[in-house]
Amino acid sequence: MKVSILQFPGTNCEFDTQYAFEKLGCNTEIVWHKAESLPSDTDLLVVAGGFSYGDYLRSGAIAKFSPVMKAVAEYAKSGGKVLGICNGFQVLTEARLLPGALKRNEGLHFISKHHHLRVENNDNIFLKKLNNGDVVNIPIAHHDGNYYINEEGLKELEANGQILLRYTDEDGNIKNPNGSVESIAGVCNKEKNVFGLMPHPERAMEAVLGSADGIAMLKGFLES
């Protein structure tokens, strides 16, 4: 399985992401944002976390115009699997490949800590290794993680099973760190081939570093 990982100026999670997928036995390739096409054998495209273009103007706002993004949009529209983590999620919403937007955290602070998430919908390639209601421990590290979508959009997400993950405590009770609508931590598109989440599963690959719950999350992509 081939995982291509996007790198913009300011991306800083591409090597963690590479480590995570190589640990799972994948071939990986880092793709610089000036590339005008994706490696032709790409099975999964990851838009990695970080601070593309210094988060200038808005997180992800400038990255969406990088040359590679045209190829990303075409890849997504033809059914290719895309995963956006943290800044990658912000880039995908800015590019309108995912619904909604990420606002400044309600408490205005940058939050960097482990947080629990509850699996809301495993009827997709990303979370199929987990059960609905499962609680995982995954690090979050963001300033603009406050997911917003209007009421109409929220209804659509719910109706189509597009809400993937919610922030909770360790018992699975809602605990919202950043003010996101309905405590949403991750969503997918209607076609269920583009996924975005603020937490970092690629940073939860080693129990000795706090959690290995990311393995079950990323593994879903390997068998599809």
Binding site: T93, A101, L108
Partner: protein, 79 residues
Amino acid sequence: MKAIVNVFLKAGVLDSQGKAVHHALDSLHFDGVKDVRVGKQIVLQLDENDKEKAMADVTKMCEELLANTVIEDYNIELV
């Protein structure tokens, strides 16, 4: 010509920064403040001299880049 673009969160989208500034003003005893909204201002120096054309261009810039219309409104002033 100069274009001044103001970008604010839409009414109904919680403006946490505005709220924090409002709290700070309260604690400084500026009691008469009813609401605070924090936004950003983008000033563009344009070659264009035709106002209508400039307005159309800047509107396109706002729609494509300067504002995220999922959460933000914008207004444009030409001077």
